[in-house]
């Protein structure tokens, strides 16, 4: 039995049966990271000592009969989530030496379950990007073809999960950053409802949009992870107090009679034909499982990119003001005075995409432009939310593509920020509204690159998404998450 081939759920079973031990499994993963990570660049920091120590603890815990579903399961954590004693860079050189004095709420929870952390995964700097090319630690490579992007910004978490460098991972999603890389890497990714998962210790990019969630090989593993990640945290005032269901019961019911909507604004001219064919085939599979498929309309979709790229940079420009060289960031050693220290430390520390977004955000919030840009965008955000509220009166779940194209080649779009922003059109409205979204593999291109299906639900309807995703995964031929990328 090759330990790296097992899903998180399967690991729990073999641990319980005594067929494998967490130490054996962690060693197998560390060996594979050593062999494969130099080509994929999924990890910024690997923590072998902590992982092995945790594995020994997990063995004792299992022997003592206190095993939980994630005990001894090796995970990778996106490097925007604080880990006590392990540096947390956010993919930025400004935080390249930052060692947090505390764990993010969800990291603490995972550790309390006995989950093991193999390391911190690469991402676009401060989670700003759709291709993982904007990392101070170099681009991540798609495990299915190393010349291609893995998607972003949680590209490291998605690539690590697909390449068998971890059993499962945690990512974050502000405009598609869990769903899009999961789709591009052929794995499962869930962006929960805004407020479902605590943001305490998640380094803020756009606070009204950010959510952390699981990236896994199977839908069942996403449910297992959600059972631990979801829940109220008094330290995050936006964290929802509503009760957390057992997500692993989500697929007890089959899909008979479930109403699936196809948003006509997502199937328009220019959508890559291979992507469209894969998504339409997936919808046929859902219909075959008893789903009732109908067209819905999300009329403000075409304004989503413009509204999002005002709101998100506005919040980012404010959030990133804290990187000033005073308390925990790199400081320019030659600074002559305080003002100069701010300027030089920030300019040396931020990469081009982060600089661009701080500039956009500062501009749209500045005197004279606030109403025309920021206020207008927040009004359009209301219209986007209403689109979803109206659609979910008629359907239980919406099925659509994740991105208009399959992964593109590394370097292909770097000089064209606007085109890169436009590629987020199918994911970012979900963050603007705050509803949850799940991506599951649904096909591959003629050249072998994964294509994902995106499922959207109403507020706190993660169970509906997992139910549809699980039955689709069981019925569909494209559970890529269970196959090893051929190049690796």
């Amino acid at each position: 039995m090759n330990p790296i081939e097992l899903s998180a759920a399967e690991l729990a079973q073999v641990y319980a049966a005594g067929e494998l031990s967490p130490v054996e499994v962690v060693k197998a993963y560390l060996d594979r990271i050593g062999a494969v990570n130099p080509r994929v660049n999924a990890f910024i920091t690997v923590t072998p000592d902590d992982a092995l120590l945790g594995a020994e603890e997990a063995e004792k815990r299992i022997a003592a009969g206190n095993q939980t579903p994630l005990t001894g399961v090796p995970l990778a954590i996106k490097d925007v989530l604080c880990t006590k004693g392990t540096r947390t860079t956010c993919g930025s050189s400004i935080l390249s030496d930052f060692v947090p004095p505390y764990d993010a709420f969800i990291v603490e929870r995972l550790k309390a379950e006995g989950a093991l952390i193999l390391g911190k995964t690469n991402c676009d700097e401060f989670a700003m990007g759709s291709s993982n090319e904007h990392s101070a630690f170099g681009p991540v490579h798609n495990p299915w073809n190393l010349d291609y992007i893995p998607g972003g910004s949680s590209g490291g978490s998605a690539a690590a999960t697909a390449a068998r460098l971890c059993a499962a991972a945690v990512g974050t999603d502000t405009g598609g950053s869990i769903r899009q890389p999961a789709g591009h890497c052929g794995v499962v990714g869930l962006k929960p409802t805004y407020g479902r998962v605590s943001r305490y210790g998640l380094v803020a990019f756009a606070s009204s949009l950010d959510q952390a969630g699981p990236i896994t090989r199977t839908v069942a593993d996403a449910a297992l992870m959600m059972n631990v990640l979801a829940g109220h945290d008094p330290a995050d005032s936006t964290s929802a107090p509503s009760p957390v269901p057992d997500y692993t019961r989500a697929w007890d019911r089959d899909l008979k009679g479930i109403r699936v909507g196809l948003p006509k604004e997502y199937f328009i001219e220019g959508l890559d034909p291979e992507v469209e064919a894969a998504v339409r085939t997936a919808v046929q599979t859902l219909a075959g499982l008893g789903a009732e498929v109908k067209e819905v309309s999300l009329p403000h979709t075409e304004y989503g990119v413009a509204a999002y790229y005002i709101v998100a940079p506005a919040e980012a420009s404010s959030n990133l003001a804290r990187y000033d060289g005073v308390r925990y960031t790199r400081r320019d050693p030659d600074a002559r005075n305080l003002a100069n220290m701010f300027l030089e430390s920030r300019s040396a520390g931020f990469g081009p995409e982060v600089t661009r977004r701080i500039m956009i955000g500062t501009y749209v919030l500045s005197a004279g432009y606030y109403d025309a840009y920021y206020k207008k965008a927040t009004q359009v955000r209301t219209l986007i939310r209403r689109d979803f509220e109206n659609a979910f009166q008629d359907v239980d779940v919406i099925a659509c593509p994740i991105a208009p194209t399959p992964p593109f080649k590394i370097g292909e779009m770097v000089g064209d920020p606007l085109s890169m922003y436009l590629s987020d059109v199918f994911t970012l409205c979900i963050n603007m509204a705050g509803v949850p979204g799940l991506s599951v593999p649904c096909g591959r291109t003629a050249t072998g690159l994964p294509i994902g299906l995106q499922l959207l639900g109403g507020y706190f309807q993660e169970e509906t998404l997992l139910r549809v995703g699980y039955h689709y995964e069981q019925a569909g031929p494209y559970s890529f998450g269970r196959n090893l990328p051929p190049e690796l």
């Binding site: 304004y303 100069n340 300027l343 840009y373 009004q379 194209t405 920020p417």
Partner: protein, 136 residues
């Protein structure tokens, strides 16, 4: 397009480039070509204003960076103009996804970060203070 040239390309040349591109840029161009180009060519801000915004954001930019940013921000902000097509006079702004009330808690002292931990990442310190260069 691999690079943003300092001078904006002629509309026709740009359109040809985009419609021959693959994937998303073709998609975007096809739908929005006409209004897109109208917007792109309305200049929003010049280099002097870009430098002012950089100053507000406490960023220092070189001449080359200012030129590239001016070009990119004009394209991006020009694209935002499409929001003006929507009548939002009676629409409430939405700053947040959830309509939670402000949660209150009891005003009770709790354990906080140890000063040594809080100062551990400081670039410079003096006793229990963060030390910075001379202010005045």
């Amino acid at each position: 397009m691999d690079t943003i040239s300092p001078a904006l390309p002629k509309p026709r040349a740009y359109a040809t480039q985009i419609s021959h591109g693959t994937g998303w840029s073709a998609f975007a161009a096809g739908r929005r070509e006409i209004s897109f180009f109208r917007k792109v060519f309305s200049m929003k801000l010049d280099q002097r204003e870009v430098r002012h915004v950089a100053d507000l954001a406490r960023l220092s930019v070189t001449d080359d960076e200012a030129a590239a940013l001016t070009d990119q921000l004009n394209r991006i902000l020009g694209y935002m103009d499409r929001l003006a097509e929507l009548d939002t006079r009676d629409i409430q702004p939405m700053a947040h996804a959830l309509t939670l009330d402000t949660p209150f808690r009891e005003d009770r002292a709790q354990a906080s970060l140890d000063p040594e931990d809080a100062l551990a990442n400081a670039p410079d310190r003096d006793a229990n203070f963060f030390r910075v260069p001379r202010v005045i």
